[in-house]
Amino acid sequence: MSELLAPFLQALTDQPFLRTALLAGLLASVGCGVIGTFVVVKRIAFLAGGIAHSVLGGMGAALYFGIDPLLGALGAAVLSALIIGSVRLAWGAQEDTLIGAIWAIGMAVGILFIAKTPGYSTDLMSYLFGNILLVAPRDLWLMALLDLVLVATVGLFYRQFLAVSFDEEQARLRGVPVGLFYLTLLCLVAVTVVLLIQVVGLILVIALLTLPAAIAGHYLHSLGGIMLVATLLGATFTSAGLALSFTPDLPSGPTMILLAGACYVVSAVVSMLLKGYRARRLARIGARTR
């Protein structure tokens, strides 16, 4: 292990781009912890996936018109979130078909723009699968700003987001503007997706958005606790994935995802066994007291 990590730690001290990458991973993990928790408990992973993939349309358009692709991604993500959210609020049904359509349309638009942008097609892979080593120091500022927006919004209206995630009908009866908070939540998901795309690319985003919160949810039973632990797990996966991929020169995004995926599988099995063990112990105690 040490021969694997030593070159990484050495490079961390004298390679600024690696420090930038590490920071980008840490900044992204805030979003994956806080918003990922809502995605998991509200069961909107497919919706988040649709938003993530449609982002390619915005990135392609931004490239074509010579704008920062990150801003294009943000615009497309928020637009997709608002379209999917409004249609669900207005009509209720057929959400999944719509998400699938937005998913594919966004990607198709992106590919067309990229194909027509002179000399840029080689970058496609890094949008799809991410390249944390390409994050520019000034991107860190945008990421930090997006984190601030996320944390401040959730912090101020935590109870309303909880109410809308837990029981929309009851929230409506208590006078909570459910539509407004639902759309805001989807916009926060969109912002988080853009944060995470920097790190693992738009295809792998969904894993980093859901797995840390799902693992934390195996053991914790309060939303706040899950958010905190999921953030720490996200930080661990991105940092460890970056470190493990450095020496053998592997793509960092897939390394992070495989790490998170492996931990998720192990955790799912452990929590299942734990549940069975507790149930058996409870039954034994019950039998003894009777």
Binding site: V41, R43, L156, F157, Y158, R159, Q160, L162, A163, S165, F166, D167, E168, E169, Q170, A171, R172, L173, R174, G175, V176, G217, L220, H221, S222, L223, G225, I226
Partner: protein, 250 residues
């Protein structure tokens, strides 16, 4: 008509006039007139798919009538909502949601507490008080998914009470629990009736008639009966020939 429009505090708790509602082309409710008086304990019975839950959703303002009007505490349903406590038949949330009983009840305080920031001390006290009132104070720290049917029903009742409503509306509050717990819940409702108007939906007319003041029978159209007028004949009429009763007129 005039007392309904002025919105004074002396009118009936719920007034429904000429209400009709349909989902698409299927008529669910036809020309319903109903008044629930303040302080009344009213039962709403009828066969499955007779429109009971739909009528409750209209009273709560979750659905809008195609014709007719509804006034709740002298106001439109959407405006009166926060003064109404509602216990749904099926919880409209995931049972495995990571949330404690106390947090669930506290969510019932939204609308009665400032919308920014966190709960006040008064909110926490109200939550504990509501849990104590339904004899579920010991469940406060439990996860919502670990409760039995009867316990969950009490917690949902506490969530409805914590917003200090004037009307309590319950949809089949005892459908998923055993008979002894059913009696306990209705004893509790009888006690709450001292300060609250209560409208409860049930499919069990024989059971609720010993608790409620009046029974409204709903099968697309609606007829009210005083409790003492309920006899075997009426019950038979409503349930005995369930197939024919889809078309029956009172």
């Amino acid at each position: 008509m005039s007392s309904a429009t002025t919105g004074t505090d002396t009118g009936p708790a719920i007034r429904i006039e000429g209400l009709s509602f349909s989902f698409g082309l299927a008529p669910v409710l036809q020309d319903i007139d109903l008044e629930v008086f303040r302080g009344e304990f009213m039962g709403l019975v009828g066969p499955n798919a007779g429109g009971k839950s739909t009528l409750l959703k209209l009273i709560l303002g979750l659905l809008r009538p195609q014709s007719g009007r509804i006034r709740v505490l002298g106001a439109a349903p959407e405006e009166a909502r926060r003064r109404v406590g509602y216990v749904p038949q099926y919880p409209s949330f995931q049972r495995d949601f990571p949330i404690s009983v106390e947090q669930v009840v506290l969510l019932g305080r939204l609308g009665s507490t400032p919308s920014l920031g966190w709960y006040r001390r008064a909110d926490r006290e109200a939550a504990l008080h509501a849990l104590a009132e339904v004899e579920a104070a010991d469940l406060a720290r439990r996860r919502i998914g670990t409760l039995s049917g009867g316990q969950l029903q009490r917690v949902l009742l506490a969530r409805a009470l914590v917003g200090e409503p004037q009307i309590l509306i319950l949809d089949e509050p005892t459908a998923n629990i055993d008979q002894r717990a059913e009696g306990d819940i209705f004893d509790l409702l009888a006690m709450l009736n001292a300060r609250l108007t209560i409208l409860v939906v049930s499919h069990d007319i024989a059971f609720i008639s010993s608790y409620v003041d009046r029974v409204a029978c709903l099968n697309r159209t609606l007829v009210c009966h005083r409790t003492d007028a309920i006899d075997a004949d009426l019950i038979h009429q409503l349930y005995g020939e369930a197939v024919r009763s889809v078309a029956h007129r009172h």
